[in-house]
Symmetry: C2
C-alpha cells in the first residue's frame, strides 16, 4: 500500500516548500493584523483577564484565547496547502495517492477538534475529565489512519536489553494505546507549564523549531515523505503563532488561552505520530515531561492544589517569587509526605513548617511546577527574565539534549 | 479507482446501521442530560439572550448556542462510527479502502470547521463576509475528495432541451464551483430562515428526515454505498438535535445559536456532495431557496435591512405580527422600488405609504422573509402555531414536493 520512495525530495516538493513558507509569512501578517481588529470583540464576549503579575494588574483588561486566531488562520493555510500538495495529481490520468491524502485529512481533523475543544474550554471553562477524554477521542482517526497506512506495531529494542528481551517486540494494541497517550499528553503538557507571559507560545515555538530542524536533517533520508509532511505543518504553525508570541511577551498585550495549548499540543502529536517520529518528538518534550512528573503530587491531589499555581508578584521589587500552598500537616497522607520530602531533597520545591497560635502544625510549600523551581533557585526574578530562563531550559533540554541523544547517544543503543 | 458495487447492503452494513441507531439514541440522551448541566456555564460565559417574542421577555436569561452541545456529541459519535464502519478491514490482510475512508474524514473535517466557525460567530459576532468566505474554504477538502474519487463533472441534460443543447455537458471546473456554492448556500440558508422558537432546529430535522427517507429508498439501488454513507451521518444528526428541538420549542428554554445552523447546513452539504445527490438535496431546501430569493432585496440592501427581521409580539393578544422596516420613499432606488412592487404583487410582503408632518413620504413594508409572509396571510398567530405552519410548509414543499419531483416528474425529463 505505502510506497517508500528511497529518493529524496524532488523539484515539486521544493516548490511546495517555498509556497508553504510564503503563505506562512502572509498568514503571520494576517494574524498580526487581526489581533488588534478583533480585540474589542473578545473583550465584549467576556474573553479577557487581568494580568495578575503586574503592578497595575486590575487596570487593564487583556484579551484572552487569542490562540484561536492563530489556529483559524493555520487551518485555512493548511486547506490551501493540501490543495497545492495534491495539485500534481490533479489531472484525470494521475493515480491519486489516497493513502497520503488521508494523513492530511486525519491530521487536520484531530487538530480542528482540539481547537474547538480549546475554544469551548476558554469560553465555558470545562472540567478536567473532559480535557483528558476528548483528546483521546480526537486521536481515533489518527489511529485508524496509522492502521490503514502502516499497521506495524513492532518496536526495535535497544541493544543493551536484547540478550534478555530479544531483538524486537510486537506491541500490538499497546502501540495504539501509546499513540493515544501521546495525543493526550501533548495536548495537556503545554497547558500545565503555563502562567507566565510568553511561556506557552514561546515553548510551542521552540518545540516546533526543534521538530522543523529535525525534519530538515532527515529530509535527505529514506523517510523524506513523512518529514515533508511534518514540515508542511510546522512552517505555517510557526508563521501563525509568531505574532502571538510578540504580543504575549512580557508585558503581555494578549493572552493565548487554552486554545493555543491544545492547538499546538495536538499539532505536535499529529506530526509525531503520522511522521513516525513520536519517540524523538517526546524528547523535545523533556521539560514538559519533567514538569508533568513534578506536578503529579498536586495534579493527583496527594498535596493540595490551588486553582492557580503561577508565581506571585512582589510589588516593591516588581519581581516574581514562587507561589506557595499552605495546609495542615496532619492532613497530609504518608504518600504525600514522601513526595514532599523527595522533591524537596532534589531541590524542586522548598517547604517550611510553622505553628499556628492554636498549636496546629502547618506546612507551606512552593507549588510543584518547574516555574516555581526556577524561582526557588534563582531568587526573585523579573517576569521577562523568568520566561527567558524557562525558554533557555526548553532550548537546552528540549532541543540540544534531544539532538545529542538522537544523533550521538543513539549509536550505543541501536544499530544505525 | 471507485468500485461500484451493484449489490445492495450486506449483513455487516445492517449491523453498523443498527449500531448507528443505538449510539444515536445514547447520544441524544447525553445531549439531553448535558443541556441543564452546562446551562449555568453558558450564561456565565455571556452566551445568553432574551426571548423577544415573550411577554416576560426581559425576565428570563435563555442560554444561547446550545447547538454546540449537539455538534460536539455528534462529532464524538461519528468518530466512533468511523472506527466501527472500517472495523471489518481491521485485520492486516484486508485491503483497506482508502478511497472510502477519505470521504468520512473530509466530511467530518468540513463539519468540524463549520462548528468551530459557528461557535466563534456566536461568541465573537463575526462579520457577514467571514460567514460567506469560510464555508468556501471549508469545502476545499470536499472538492479534493470529489476529485480524487470521481472526477466526473459531466451532467446529463433533461430530455426537452437535448435537441438544442445535446445529451450531456462536461461542466469541468464549473461543477466544482457549483459544489462550493452548495456548501456556502446550505450553511447560510438555515441561518436566515430563523428567529422563531423551534424553527432552525425544526427545519433541520425535517430536512435530515427527508434525506434519511431518500437514502432508505435508494439503499436498494446501484449506489447503496453512497446512501449508506449519508445514513451514517443523518441518524446521529437526528439523534443529537432532537433533544435540542424539545427544549427550543415554544416557549424556548434554550436557543440554538448560529452553531446549529452552520453545523446542520454543512452536514447536509457534505452528504449531498459526497453522496452524489446534491441536486435532490437542493430540492429539500425549496423553502430555504424561496426564503433566500425573497430575502435578496434586503440582503443586498436594495431595501433597508434592520438587524433583526423576526416577527413582533402583540403583547395584548400574545400573538405575533409581521415586523416592518420604515424608510423615506425618496431613498429607494428604482431597482428597490421594482422589487418592492414585485414581491408585493405576489403577496410576499405588504407595504403602505404615509406622510410625515414635514410632508416627507415614508414607506413601511413587512420584512422580506417567508416567516413574515405567513404572518401577512394568516394574521396574528401564536408563536407555536407559526412554527407549526412553517414546519408544515417545510414538509409539503421540502419533503413531499421533492419526492414527487424526484420519483414522478423526473420521468418526463430523464430516462429512468
Ligand atoms: Mg491554560
Ligand atoms: Mg442565527
Amino acid at each position: 500500500m505505502k510506497q517508500n520512495h528511497a529518493s529524496a525530495i524532488d523539484r515539486f516538493d521544493l516548490f511546495t516548500l517555498v509556497f508553504d513558507i510564503l503563505i506562512s509569512i502572509v498568514g503571520g501578517i494576517i494574524v498580526n493584523r487581526l489581533i488588534p481588529i478583533l480585540k474589542e470583540k473578545f473583550i465584549r464576549a467576556q474573553l479577557w483577564g487581568y494580568d495578575l503579575n503586574k503592578r497595575n494588574s486590575k487596570e487593564v483588561k487583556i484579551a484572552e484565547s487569542q490562540g484561536v486566531i492563530a489556529a483559524g488562520i493555520f487551518l485555512i493555510l493548511m486547506f490551501i496547502m493540501i490543495a497545492i500538495v495534491f495539485s500534481e495529481h490533479l489531472h484525470p490520468l494521475s493515480d491519486f495517492p489516497h493513502n497520503k491524502f488521508i494523513e492530511y485529512l486525519a491530521a487536520l481533523l484531530s487538530i480542528c477538534c482540539m481547537v474547538l475543544l480549546g475554544f469551548a474550554d476558554d469560553v465555558l471553562d470545562l472540567r478536567w475529565s473532559v480535557k483528558l477524554l476528548l483528546p483521546l477521542i480526537a486521536s481515533l482517526p489518527l489511529l485508524l489512519v496509522y492502521f490503514a497506512n502502516y499497521h506495524s506495531t513492532t518496536i526495535i529494542l535497544p541493544k543493551p536489553v536484547r540478550p534478555l528481551l530479544g531483538h524486537q517486540w510486537n506491541l500490538g494494541i499497546l502501540y495504539y494505546a501509546y499513540m493515544s497517550m501521546v495525543s493526550v499528553f501533548c495536548t495537556n503538557a503545554i497547558n500545565i507549564l503555563a502562567g507566565v507571559n510568553g511561556l506557552e507560545v514561546g515553548q510551542s515555538i521552540v518545540i516546533a523549531s526543534s521538530i522543523l530542524m529535525f525534519n530538515l536533517v532527515e529530509l535527505q533520508g529514506s523517510c523524506s515523505e513523512e518529514h515533508l509532511f511534518s514540515l508542511y505543518f510546522m512552517i505555517p504553525f510557526i508563521g501563525c503563532t509568531f505574532p502571538i508570541l510578540l504580543r504575549n511577551w512580557c508585558p503581555a498585550q494578549i493572552f493565548v488561552g487554552d486554545t493555543l495549548c491544545y492547538f499546538s499540543g495536538m499539532t505536535f502529536a499529529v506530526v509525531g505520530i503520522l511522521g513516525h517520529f513520536s519517540k524523538t518528538m517526546l524528547l523535545f518534550f523533556i521539560p514538559q515531561i519533567a514538569n508533568f512528573l513534578l506536578s503529579i503530587p498536586q495534579l493527583f491531589h496527594f498535596i493540595p492544589c490551588p486553582r492557580h499555581r503561577l508565581p506571585r508578584l512582589n510589588p516593591e521589587l516588581n519581581k516574581l517569587n514562587p507561589s506557595e500552598v499552605e495546609f495542615k500537616k496532619k492532613d497530609l497522607k504518608p504518600l504525600g509526605w514522601l513526595m514532599l520530602r523527595f522533591f524537596s531533597a532534589i531541590k524542586c520545591v522548598r517547604y517550611r513548617e510553622y505553628k499556628m497560635h492554636d498549636n496546629e502544625v502547618m506546612i507551606a510549600t512552593t507549588n510543584f511546577t518547574i516555574i516555581n523551581t526556577v524561582l526557588c533557585w534563582a531568587g526573585p526574578l523579573h517576569e521577562a527574565t523568568l520566561t527567558q530562563i524557562l525558554l533557555l531550559i526548553q532550548i537546552i533540554f528540549g532541543t540540544a539534549l534531544p539532538f545529542f541523544i538522537r544523533y550521538y547517544l543513539v549509536k550505543f543503543f541501536y544499530d544505525s
